[in-house]
Structures are given as structure tokens and as C-alpha cells.
């Protein structure tokens, strides 16, 4: 999300599923789309029918690979080397779309002369501070003008990156030096060239285990299928987002798509496939510690004391584009939440908002539970005992709580860990020693409530209530509304200042015709002013006269109509189908679609025509993602800011400089360019740099979180295999909505591991037998599936075996099927931008037979740790000491 945000200005998928049919080439990487989004995959098959080439780059041969034209097996955790190799191929062969790149990207911009690349510093960029394991990003900035002098703060710890979900990173665009010939050694294009010059096909082969010929085929396919006449789309999912360098994976594809001129064009773009029904929605209207609705950052303890301080921290007053109006969005949100208590005197209500002061993410919170800092925990349709990394830590953490509220459809393992979790079996926990008071409240299913999900293409779709929930079942909407009323009543007479926000928060929603409050909540989200409902965020004011619960969703209730509930049949519309649901922002389906036309506003080609300038307006099948009546020739006046400063050829309207970012001068904490680092746990050394892993990744040095040695470190050979976790078509995440259903459970009834025949032979594993998989955290058992679909790879001159582990099962007694949980194997190492765990790759051992029971299990794992010489510091050093690398 921050990656797309830092590259293009918004974190959402840039395109929509139906547009895949227009692609000439579809690269699916970090996604198993056919298995995880089967119905969306119909659009890939549609493209294939029309002659498109489908390429699947993935460690495993999956159901997606089965129907792809080419499957490229890749070592898990090495995608940046692969993507960098493609960038190198494009630049070395002058295969980029020159006119697009020059006009719409920051390729011509000059970077400061004190910037030093990872190529010069053996894997670090300039500005690295060892003590804080973070970067001072000042030297990454553009050269020239005002912003050159401005100091950039290191944003580490606060997940600032995520605040670019809709609004690019902060820079002052005035006076940036450029070189339109793109020859200046410090212009972005040349910086890029140097950075990736060593990412040759041979290096790709060595790092990724991909044969040179396979790699060449991919490069040639994407180049041949890009340009004026053709477009390529890149599809990714959590196969990319769950790494310690996740954000830079996505940046890699962003760079390729900008260089090839595929952004904003039909059949192009980057399709971020969110995993579940409303993952996109839950970041847009976040239940995330660091965000307020619409990607407005949560205020921080230091530096955000006043509204003006806060505002200065989230946007530059001189920046271009619609993020320039951020103050109107914040004030309207505070008006929606605190009504008349949100005035200029109360810093527009920010005085009522709690402050963050570091990482308060879910993994840090679990560690805080172990330290008895957290008393109460709500689990709302989430099963961390199975679905989160390091499940053991999750369960032990919950056993330290005073109270736990679980709201779900079924008695999931996170509700029953105190009774039948794995730690009960090992004797680490006993019910009579667990103080946690557990409330299980049954939830309403999707047909028992009304509301919106935001699916993967930023589309809000309303689902209507069909029946009343059974028994005590209740929607989270009703539960929290009622809980809020009870709390307001309890605090009504309080004079304690800490209770003031509860007293002030607006908390009254009328029932609609179905007796539901969802409609009223959606109206608040959409926003209103003195004239009634607003039509979109352009109507929002910074004077307190408008209120809006989520500025990017503003307009979802435009004209008094629930736009998300529109269901004009697809058959009665053109293929863009604008009258089905409502997409943020402003019901635009393809983002940055100004770029589908050339700088003069004409389609790049007849074949790829989409939006174009007709002399007065932008016209085409979509709503233009631009100022509607701004001509291509428009040039902003000197000193203009915000929307007025957007030139006629600035397609990236949320970016401070209006351009797509090949190089990110701001916004990402781990570097302006994707650079290959090894995963936190890897069997090999980094072949490109002395720096082994992401030098800014988030680590937790605690005895409960042992990490393993990597590469040539002593003890790394104790865990010689790579494993990756994933899901299957037949199940849903941690199983709460699938393992309780016989029809789904029977299709995949048992936890299994996938290994290659060669690996099975090496370790004596038998098909359909049992295997025990061991890491420094725990050991779990799985049935063995020996399959040629898993292939040993040749990496750095040796054979690397990979183990595949679907993560749907958990230990409990209420589900139809249960089993050990793959996520129990994982340690905690997080991406520094967004604090997402590295769960797509780690190292393990595998051995035949079932795992030991009881304390014998603990002894086995202890024996492994001791053999590998693991201490609290092992694998936790972010800066690789000099002289230890090859």
C-alpha cells in the first residue's frame, strides 16, 4: 500500500479486474490468483482467449501456473533481484517507453549530489544510522529549489508509509532541477541505470535460481507487450506483502510499469489483489493503529501538539495535487466525530485524539501482552492463534490478558486456546493457571446485516440484510453501537478530562427501513455540509462547515443515493460498468487514466484508447482521474499549490510533483530504490551486497522470539531448507469460515506439506506419511505430499529445497477438521514501512515422522536451538558486520 502510494500517490490497485481482458501480457507474481481469487481469474482467462500471454512467477507450480503460458519457479524471497533484472534489461536495451517516461515520471529529475547508492555502500544508501537502524532521508531528495534544503525526518516506527494510501509522500516540488535529455549522471534515469547494472541475467540466475533462458523469455515478453500499441499488467498479492522487504517488492513492479509506460492505461497497471472481502476497506477506513480514515495519519506525541504542527508533518504547503487540501479532510473528519467540540480552539478536535509514539501494531501488542501491559483484547472475526505469525506467542500473550472478547461465527481456536490449545498439550499452560476471562459473542453473518465491503479494485458494494441473525448473534455494527451507548452513559457525569472525548463523540444513528443503522453511518462517512450531503471531497472545507467520516469515500452517498448499492446489470452497461457499486475516488475505475493519453491528450494508439481530451473535457469510458476540464497544455502559475498547481501533463494528481516515481525521494524508510536483501532467515548469503538483510527491518530481541542464523553464519545449516506459507482455494485464512463447513473441509481435510521427490528422498519422507517441520520457534507435523510441482532450485552453486505449507489449520476441538498451524513456525521480523511480518519465507528443517508430544516437543526444539547456537541476538543484527560477508 505505501509502495503504490509512494510510486503513484495512492495505495489502491491502479486498475480493475475486468480490465485484465485488455492486457496483452499478464505477469502474476507474488500471487496465486487462480487459487485465491478464482472468480476474478476469469478475466485472465478472457485475456488468454484473446491471445494474451500469461506468466506466473512463483516458488511453486500452482493452479495458476497450470493454465499460464510460462511458469517461472523462483526462490522464495528473491523477487527484487528478479524485478531489478527486468529493470536492467529494459534500461540496458533502451526498451523503455521514452515519451511516456519523460513526460509522466520523475526520470528527468536530478537527485542531490550527496546521495549515495547501495552500489557504492555495499547495500546501504546514504544516511544510514546504525544506532537506530534507520535512514536520514535528506540526501535522497531532489536537487535544487526549496526542498533541497529541507530536512526530511526519519519516519521509522510510525508506519508513515501507510499514510500514502491516498496522498503521496511530502516534498516541496518548487525549483527541482531537471534534465529533459535524461543524460545527467544525477538524473533519476541514470541513477536507476547504475543501481541495477549488476542485476544481470546471470545474477538473477544465481540469486533466484531462475535459468537465464527463462528469465530472458519474461523480459522479452513484457517489453514486446508494452508501448503505444500494447500493454502489460502486473498482478501481485500477499506473496509480496509478507516479507521484510515487502514494500520494495511492489516498488520493483511500479518501476517496471512506469518505464514501460503501462500505468493508467487499459490492460496495464498494477492489480493489487487484496486477500479478503474488505481488506482494502479496512485500510481505507482503517482499524490500524497509525491511521485515521482516508489515510490521514494518527497524531503523534511529539511534534503534533497543535493542528498546524500536525498538518505540517503530513503535507508540504507548497505541494501539488489534491493532498494539498489535507487540512480540509482532517477538519471534516473531526467535525464528523466530535461535532461542535471540534473547533479551532480545540485544534479542530485533535486535542480529543490519542497520540501514538512508536509501533503499536499487532505484533508489538502481543509482546506487550506477555509483559502484562495489555489487559483487554477484542478479536473481531480474526483468529490470531492460527492466522498470525508465531502462533505460540499469540496464545501465550492471550493467556496473560485479564479479559478477552471474541466475536465470531464459530468457536475459533483463539477463543478456545485456554482449553485445548497446543500449549495445554505441552504443559506450558493449564486452564487453572490462565487468568483470562473470555467472552465469546456470536456474530452475524454477511446476509444478516447490511453494509459495504470494499473489494480489491477500490469498489464499495453494498450487501443487503436478508434475514435476522439467529439467537444471540449480532453484527459488529450493532454491538459497537450499543457498547458505545453504554459507555457514554457510564461517562455522562464524569468531570475527568480523559473521559471528555467519549462525552463529545457523536453517537447517534437513525434506523433505516430495515431497522439498521448502516445506512446512516455510510451517510456520515460520505459527508455533509450546510446544504446537505456533499458530492465529493472537492466540496470539503477547512473552516468547520463540512463534516466527512472518510474523505476518499466522500460522494458514496452523493445526491442522497447510496451509490454503493447501485446494481445496474453489467449486461446493460459498457465493460467499465461505472453504474455498479461505487469506487473511490469519485467513482474512478482506472487510476491515473490521464496517462492513457499522450501529453497532448490524444490516445497513445487507437488500440489502447481510453481517456482523451476533446478540446473541452476529458472524455472516455471512465471518469477521468484528473481535473475534468483542465487542458493538456495547462501550465500552473508560479506559486500555485494544491490542485491549482497540477499541470496538464501531471497524471499522478496525488503526488506532490504530479509524476510517477521511479525513484522515491521520500516516503519509504528502507530506501529510494528496491535493493535485493536476503530474507531475515535465509540459507544463503546475499550474492549482491555485503549487507545481508534489510538493514531497517523491525526486529524483536526477546527470548520468546528466537531467530535463526543465515547464510554462512555458523549454525545456519541446522535449518537448511526454505519454507513458504500460503492458502488453498478450498479454505479461508485461519479457517474460521471454512474449517467449520463440511463441504469445504472435505475438499482439504488435513494439513499437509509439499516437497519435491528429490527432497523427499534426501530426507526419507514418504508420500502420505508424516513429516515434522522444525524451526527455532516450534515443531509441527503435517502429512506429506510429494510432488514434482515443487522443484529444487540451483542457487549460488547449490541445491535449495523449498517446503510448501498451507496455513489454514489450527489445534482445537470445535472445527470439522483441525491440525497443526503452519504460522506457529514463524518468528517475528517485520517490514519497517508497514510492520507486516515476513511469513512468505523462512528457513526450517524437515524430518520424517510425527512430532513428539508433551514436553518432548519442547525438548526437541530446544535441542535444535542449541545445535544452531541460537541466542537472543542471533539473526537480529540488522547491519551486517563488515568482513563476515563473502
Amino acid at each position: 500500500m505505501p509502495s503504490l502510494g509512494a510510486s503513484f500517490g495512492r495505495g489502491g490497485a491502479t486498475t480493475f479486474l475486468q480490465d485484465l481482458q485488455n492486457s496483452d501480457c499478464i505477469v502474476i507474481q507474488g500471487s496465486n490468483m487462480a487459487e485465491c481469487h478464482p472468480v476474478g481469474f476469469q478475466w485472465v482467462m478472457e485475456a488468454k482467449r484473446r491471445g494474451a500471454r500469461v506468466i506466473h512467477i512463483d516458488p511453486r507450480f500452482t493452479r495458476t501456473s497450470a493454465v499460464a503460458d510460462q511458469h517461472v519457479p523462483i526462490r522464495a524471497g528473491s523477487d527484487i533481484a528478479f524485478l531489478g533484472g527486468i529493470v536492467n534489461h529494459i534500461l540496458a536495451n533502451d526498451a523503455y517507453f521514452e515519451e511516456y517516461v519523460r513526460a509522466y515520471t520523475n526520470a528527468t529529475f536530478l537527485v542531490r549530489d550527496d546521495f549515495q547508492d547501495a552500489e557504492e555502500l555495499d547495500g546501504l544508501f546514504s544516511g544510514y544510522d546504525e544506532a537506530s537502524a534507520s535512514y536520514d532521508q535528506t540526501s535522497w531528495r531532489y536537487a535544487g529549489g526549496e526542498q533541497d534544503a529541507g530536512a526530511a525526518a526519519s519516519n521509522k516506527g510510525f508506519a508513515h508509509g501507510e499514510a500514502h494510501g491516498s496522498g503521496g509522500p511530502t516534498i516541496d516540488p518548487r525549483g527541482i532541477q531537471t534534465d529533459p535529455t535524461m543524460q545527467h549522471p544525477r538524473c533519476v534515469l541514470q541513477v536507476l541505470k547504475r543501481h541495477y547494472a549488476r542485476y544481470t541475467p546471470r545474477v538473477v540466475a544465481e540469486v533466484c535460481g531462475v535459468p537465464v533462458e527463462d528469465f530472458r523469455q519474461v523480459c522479452e515478453a513484457v517489453v514486446a507487450n508494452s508501448g503505444r500499441e500494447r500493454t502489460t499488467c502486473w498482478v501481485y498479492s500477499v506473496g509480496w506483502t509478507q516479507h521484510s522487504t515487502a514494500i520494495q517488492y511492489i516498488r520493483g513492479s511500479a518501476i517496471i510499469q512506469l518505464l514501460l509506460g503501462n500505468m493508467g492505461r487499459p490492460g496495464g497497471g498494477i492489480l493489487a489483489l487484496r486477500g479478503h472481502a474488505s481488506i482494502q476497506g479496512s485500510t481505507d477506513i482503517p482499524t490500524l493503529f497509525n491511521l485515521l480514515p482516508g489515510y490521514l495519519p494518527m497524531p503523534e506525541a511529539v511534534g503534533h501538539e497543535t493542528f498546524d504542527d500536525y498538518l505540517a508533518g503530513i503535507r508540504d504547503p507548497h505541494q501539488k495535487g489534491f493532498w494539498g487540501n489535507a487540512h480540509a479532510y482532517v477538519i471534516s473528519l473531526m467535525r464528523a466525530w466530535y461535532g461542535d467540540a471540534a473547533t479551532e480552539d480545540s485544534n479542530w478536535g485533535l486535542d480529543l485524539v490519542p497520540r501514538i509514539s512508536g509501533d503499536h501494531g499487532t505484533y508489538q501488542t502481543v509482546l506487550d501482552m506477555l509483559d502484562d501491559k495489555v489487559e483487554g483484547y477484542f478479536l473481531l472475526g480474526q483468529n490470531p492463534a492460527v492466522g498470525s505469525a508465531h502462533g505460540r506467542l499469540q496464545r501465550l500473550g492471550m493467556a496473560h490478558l485479564r479479559w478477552l472478547v471474541v466475536r465470531d461465527l464459530n468457536l475459533i481456536e483463539s477463543a478456545t486456546f485456554w482449553k485445548d490449545g497446543p500449549e495445554i498439550e505441552t504443559g506450558e499452560l493449564e486452564p487453572t493457571n490462565i487468568p483470562t476471562e473470555v467472552f465469546f459473542l456470536p456474530a452475524a453473518s454477511h446476509v444478516e446485516k447490511s453494509g459495504t465491503f470494499t473489494q480489491t479494485q477500490r469498489l464499495l458494494q453494498w450487501h443487503h440484510k436478508a434475514v435476522d441473525p439467529p439467537g444471540d448473534c449480532q453484527s459488529d455494527l450493532d454491538f459497537f453501537y450499543l457498547l458505545g451507548q453504554k459507555l457514554k452513559a457510564r461517562y455522562a457525569g464524569s468531570t475527568d478530562p480523559k473521559d471528555r472525548p467519549v462525552q463529545a463523540v457523536t453517537w447517534h444513528y437513525e434506523n433505516d427501513d430495515d431497522g439498521e443503522i448502516g445506512d446512516a453511518v455510510l451517510r456520515e462517512i460520505s459527508g455533509s455540509g450546510s446544504d446537505g450531503l456533499v458530492s465529493g471531497y472537492l466540496d470539503l472545507k477547512a473552516d468547520g462547515s463540512t463534516s466527512c467520516g472518510c474523505w476518499i469515500y466522500s460522494g458514496v452517498y452523493a445526491d442522497g443515493v447510496n451509490q454503493s448499492a447501485r446494481r445496474k446489470p453489467g449486461q446493460e452497461q459498457d465493460w467499465v460498468a461505472k453504474e455498479w457499486g461505487w469506487a473511490w475516488p469519485y467513482n474512478r475505475r482506472q487510476l491515473y487514466n490521464r496517462a492513457s493519453a499522450d501529453p497532448d491528450g490524444k490516445p497513445w494508439s487507437e488500440r489502447k484508447a481510453y481517456m482523451q481530451w476533446d478540446g473541452e473535457h476529458w472524455v472516455g469510458p471512465d471518469n477521468v482521474d484528473f481535473v475534468k476540464d483542465r487542458p493538456p497544455s495547462y501550465r500552473a502559475e508560479e506559486g500555485a499549490t494544491g490542485p491549482a498547481a497540477i499541470n496538464g501533463d501531471d497524471p499522478f494528481v496525488m503526488q506532490a510533483d504530479g509524476k510517477g516515481w521511479l525513484f522515491a525521494p521520500s516516503g519509504l524508510v528502507d530506501g529510494p530504490l528496491p535493493t535485493h536483501y536476503e530474507p531475515a532467515e535465509s540459507p544463503v548469503d546475499n550474492a549482491l551486497y555485503g549487507q545481508q538483510g534489510n538493514p531497517t527491518r523491525e526486529v524483536f530481541l526477546r527470548k520468546e522470539n528466537p531467530m535463526q542464523p543465515s547464510g554462512s553464519e555458523p549454525g545456519a545449516d541446522v535449518f537448511p531448507y526454505v519454507f513458504t506459507t500460503y492458502r488453498l482455494t478450498e479454505h479461508h485464512t485461519a479457517g474460521g469460515m471454512s474449517r467449520w463447513l463440511p463441504y469445504l473441509s472435505e475438499l482439504q481435510p488435513e494439513f499437509f506439506c509439499e516437497v519435491s521427490p528429490a527432497h523427499a528422498k534426501e530426507r526419507g519422507l514418504e508420500h502420505l506419511g508424516w513429516a515434522t517441520i522444525v524451526t527455532a520457534r516450534t515443531a509441527i507435523e503435517a502429512r506429506v505430499l510429494v510432488t514434482e510441482r515443487v522443484r529444487p532450485l540451483q542457487v549460488a552453486g547449490r541445491t535449495i529445497h523449498q517446503v510448501g505449507l498451507p496455513y489454514h489449520w489450527g489445534v482445537g476441538s470445535d472445527a470439522v477438521v483441525s491440525g497443526d498451524a503452519a504460522n506457529d513456525l514463524l518468528g517475528l521480523a517485520l517490514d519497517p514501512n508497514v510492520h507486516i511480518q515476513e511469513s512468505k519465507v523462512a528457513a526450517c528443517d524437515i524430518r520424517p515422522g510425527r512430532r513428539p508430544r508433551g514436553t518432548a516437543l519442547l525438548r526437541l526444539v530446544e535441542e535444535y536451538r542449541s545445535r544452531a547456537g541460537i541466542t537472543v541476538e542471533t539473526g537480529q543484527q540488522r547491519l551486517t558486520p563488515k568482513g563476515t560477508a563473502p
Partner: protein, 189 residues
């Protein structure tokens, strides 16, 4: 019903008197079979919904008879899914009507070994009380340098990916007013 009418319905007689002398077609069709109709056609109402599983957001039609969901299938009108559903989406009816679903409040007291029954209203009141007590015990007004915090780190939340936007909105709004900041979601995972 006369004896003759009954008898004439006998397959074997229909076989010999009708167009189906081999007795494999209409003559063999039972009255029950002849009366079979799609249950979706007799639903009391059909409600538009969206699949709760993955992020494709397939359109669903929910068929309701006698206040019970009798079938959930793809909505052909959706321009995204065009009426299709994957195995999970196709299992939605079982998700809703599953006999394994827990539909009453379960309560486990501290150090308890078994679940107990609890009234929903009582449970909600108890949870409100826990929140009040935890805020009292864990409130942080300022940090060591005097910067404002106005928060509690004593209450955390982790939401799933099937929460509606409206639900996430109220959750974030309420917890923020309470000063709880560790409000997280599957989106982080």
C-alpha cells in the same frame, strides 16, 4: 379418487397406453419427480448480497423462504463475477445455516475449565465495565517529557477482513474516543 384413476397413474399402465412403451421416459416419472421445481423460484424474496470470502467481491443472490436462507448463488448481473462463485462462495449457504455455528454467548471465567452460559445484555454490560476499569488503571496522560498522550495501552483490538466499512468506522471511532490506539486489522497481517 376412484380406483380407476389411481390405477391409470400406475407406471406400467401409462407405459402401455402412452407414448413410452419401453417405460423409460414419461411412464416411469413419479408424481414427485414431475412436481420438481427449482426452490429458488418459490422464494419469498431474493436479496442482493456480496460474497464474504475473498476480495473479488462477487455478487450474490440470497434466496429466503419462511425467514430462512434456502440458497445463495452468484448474481449474473455483477459485471465483475458474472454470476460465478468459487467453492467458498458456493458454500455460503452452509456458512450461514451451519449447525455448528455457535449462536449463544459463551463465557469462561478466570481460571475456569469450562464454558458457561451468559445473557447477552449482561455480557455487554460486563465488557463495558471491563473497559471502564482498564482505562482507569492504564490511562497515560503525558509521556516522561510532558508530551500529550491521552491514551490507554491497556486495550487492544484485532479485526478481521470481513468487517463492513461501517463497522470498522464505528470501531475506530469508539476506540479512538476511548483513547485506545492498538486497534489493528488483518490488513496488517
Amino acid at each position: 379418487m376412484s380406483l380407476g384413476q389411481t390405477f391409470l397413474g400406475w407406471p406400467v399402465l401409462r407405459q402401455l397406453t402412452g407414448t413410452d412403451p419401453s417405460g423409460r421416459g414419461p411412464a416411469a416419472q413419479s408424481a414427485r419427480t414431475a412436481g420438481l421445481r427449482a426452490r429458488t423460484e418459490t422464494a419469498d424474496r431474493v436479496v442482493d448480497s456480496i460474497c464474504p470470502y475473498c476480495a473479488v467481491g462477487c455478487g450474490q443472490k440470497v434466496y429466503v423462504k419462511d425467514e430462512r436462507v434456502t440458497q445463495i448463488e452468484g448474481d449474473p448481473n455483477s459485471p465483475i463475477s458474472r454470476g460465478r462463485l468459487c467453492p467458498k462462495g458456493s458454500a455460503s449457504e452452509q456458512l450461514v445455516n451451519s449447525p455448528r455455528r455457535t449462536t449463544t454467548v459463551r463465557y469462561r471465567r478466570p481460571y475456569g475449565t469450562e464454558w458457561e452460559d451468559l445473557d447477552l445484555e449482561t455480557a455487554t454490560d460486563m465488557i463495558a465495565d471491563r473497559i471502564v476499569q482498564t482505562r482507569e488503571r492504564t490511562w497515560q496522560d503525558i509521556d516522561a517529557q510532558g508530551h500529550p498522550l491521552r491514551r490507554t495501552l491497556g486495550i487492544a483490538s484485532l479485526g478481521g477482513a470481513t468487517l463492513d466499512n461501517e463497522e470498522n468506522y464505528l470501531i475506530k471511532k469508539l476506540f479512538t474516543a476511548l483513547g485506545a490506539v492498538q486497534i489493528e486489522n488483518q490488513a496488517r497481517i
